[in-house]
């Protein structure tokens, strides 16, 4: 059992999301940074898609463990404090004793979201094939109704399927990410924007609005205009699509976006770059760079190879003390 002492502003249970219900109006939801979620789970011996905590680390968050438990923290570079003293490590699994607390605190340039996984996984409700919390649509999460975690909530932990003997760390995929450059593919309506807007979209820095959340990340900058506005009809949309509403300020659809939409799409963030959305707190600047589908595919392959190398490290006999880190 893990108890929430300080819930912070946005702490939810997430897995990979509700993948196949868009035709019923239900969006994917799921972790903003799926790579870090996967990593956190694999470090403590869970399947990558197990329910773990997604924590917005813009404010401190604190948990009390009522049982012995292996945990891992990945994602943003927040400060990890164990039992008020010891410093925890990102990308490592750590043994937490019954009665100990784990606190995540904001740190400089730390990003938006961290992932905390426990060996065995949290024992919560599965709704429509996913444990993910869909706040807007009130689905899933620790109560099944899309609730955020609150002070006093207690989460049961499943019995781990195998024994962990010692701490192991892996090199983080995202650790050194500070450049705020996101590679994108051209969107279906890219050519409808006027030449100046097409250039500006890639050349200028866009500021993340404080009016951003798990549904969408609003960008602020010089207005983008279309010189060939064609009528748009509602069609299926998903995480990473960058729409431009009439305001001319781009909106990046995030994990909890709606299932259909009708604004012109100037660009689309490919799968390999989606994790970066977890590192964009309000007021940070982001720049987009154009790539083609082949490059996007290569980037995804690099990500897959990284995850495979992690699997390899974790599969080594632990008595050999194989540890791989930065």
């Amino acid at each position: 059992m893990m108890e929430v002492i300080n819930a912070g502003i946005l702490t939810t249970i997430q897995d990979y999301g509700r993948l196949s219900y868009a035709h019923m109006g239900v969006g994917k939801s799921g972790a903003i940074d799926g790579v870090s979620l996967h990593l956190a789970n694999r470090l403590v011996g869970n399947p990558g898609n197990s329910p773990a905590l997604e924590v917005s680390v813009m404010t401190p968050v604190k948990f009390l463990f009522h049982q012995d438990c292996w945990i891992s923290v990945t994602g943003s570079n927040c400060t990890i404090i164990i039992d008020g003293r010891g410093q925890g490590w990102h990308g490592w699994r750590t043994f937490i004793k019954k009665g100990q607390t784990v606190e995540l605190k904001p740190a400089y340039n730390s990003g938006m979201y961290s992932y905390l996984a426990v060996a065995g996984g949290f024992d919560t409700l599965k709704v429509m094939d996913s444990y993910s919390t869909d706040i807007k649509n009130r689905l899933g999460g620790h109560k099944g109704d899309g609730s955020l975690l609150q002070k006093g909530d207690r989460l049961a932990i499943k019995k781990p399927t195998h024994k962990i003997i010692q701490a192991v760390g892996v090199r983080a995929f995202s650790r050194t990410y500070i450049s705020s450059t996101i590679f994108v593919l051209k969107g279906p309506e890219f050519d409808q924007f006027d030449d100046a807007s097409q250039m500006r979209f890639f050349e200028e820095e866009w500021e993340i609005s404080s009016n951003s959340n798990r549904m969408g990340i609003r960008l602020e900058g010089n207005r983008l205009m279309r010189d060939k506005p064609l009528e748009m009809r509602s069609q299926g949309v998903f995480e990473g699509v960058i729409q431009v509403p009439p305001s001319g300020q781009p909106l990046v659809l995030a994990a909890e976006c709606q299932s259909t939409g009708g604004y012109p799409r100037i660009a689309v963030i490919p799968q390999a770059e989606l994790w970066k959305l977890a590192y964009l707190p309000a007021r940070k600047k982001v720049q987009f760079k154009l790539i083609d589908e082949l490059r996007a595919k290569e980037k995804l392959e690099v990500q897959q190879q990284y995850l495979e190398s992690v699997e390899y490290i974790l599969a080594q006999p632990q008595r050999d003390q194989e540890v791989y880190y930065e």
Binding site: H23, M24, G25, G187, R233, G236, P270, Q271
Partner: protein, 225 residues
């Protein structure tokens, strides 16, 4: 009717029908969706099949190594086949009657909408309950249906100031559209009534009451003036 097929990043491919929106084209869209769902060629590649307004978007598995050209070809092949078929009977779907309490607290905009069109509230209700509406697609929020068939004489602009909170079950008119808010939501539609029928329930085997191609008729349970 001519079509366009285009990519939406690395995880989407859309077939979109050009020209005026029509029910006949929408039926072809549903049919193509069905064929894709049962196609062996695309197994492992398709995560979801999402009809929109005269378009169909396939959500693709980005880790799949197959070719996107192949998907376009399959879409095109099925679209051609759909053009050879008479689908008017196939897609009658199920017809569900939705009992609605019109007016009063349940439909705060009923009188105003009637006034806009220069008809009585009863006549407005009559016009709203007369057609059999067709579910073109489900989107925006869980169980939210996009319906075809609203009588053009009662098309009504959205409210100048959207409401911050509309109760679940609200029946509204927004421009040329009518429909039901399945859950509490902000919204700009003119609210003329409310239904207790649940459009979306996670505890049902199929959570969404309606799927694309189904039909719906509003039935006046009561008209409060």
């Amino acid at each position: 009717m001519s079509i366009e097929i285009y990519s939406v990043g690395d995880r989407g491919i859309t077939l979109s029908v050009c020209g005026e929106v029509s029910l006949a084209d929408q039926q072809k869209i549903w049919w193509v969706g069905e064929q894709i769902a049962s196609s062996d060629t695309l197994k492992g590649l398709i995560i979801d099949i999402v009809p929109g307004m005269n378009n169909l978007t396939l959500f693709l598995n980005p880790y799949y190594t197959g070719s996107r050209v192949e998907v376009s070809q399959v879409l095109e092949k099925f679209w051609k086949a759909a053009n050879e078929l008479d689908l008017t009977e196939k897609f009658k779907g199920k017809l569900v009657e939705i009992p609605v309490t019109y007016g009063g607290e349940k439909g705060p905009d009923l009188l105003e909408v009637a006034k806009i069109h220069g008809i009585s509230a009863k006549a407005l209700v009559q016009k709203h309950t007369a057609p059999i509406y067709t579910v073109y697609f489900v989107g925006f929020m869980p169980g939210f249906v996009y319906l075809g068939g609203l009588d053009p004489s009662i098309h009504t602009d959205r409210r100048a100031t959207p409401r911050l909170k509309i109760p679940a079950g609200s029946v509204g008119i927004g421009g040329s559209q009518t429909g039901v808010y399945p859950g509490e939501s902000p919204g700009g539609w003119q609210i003329i009534g409310n239904t207790e029928t649940s459009f979306f329930d996670v505890n049902r085997e199929i959570p969404s009451l309606f799927l694309p191609g189904d039909q719906l008729r509003f039935v006046a349970k009561d008209v409060l003036l």
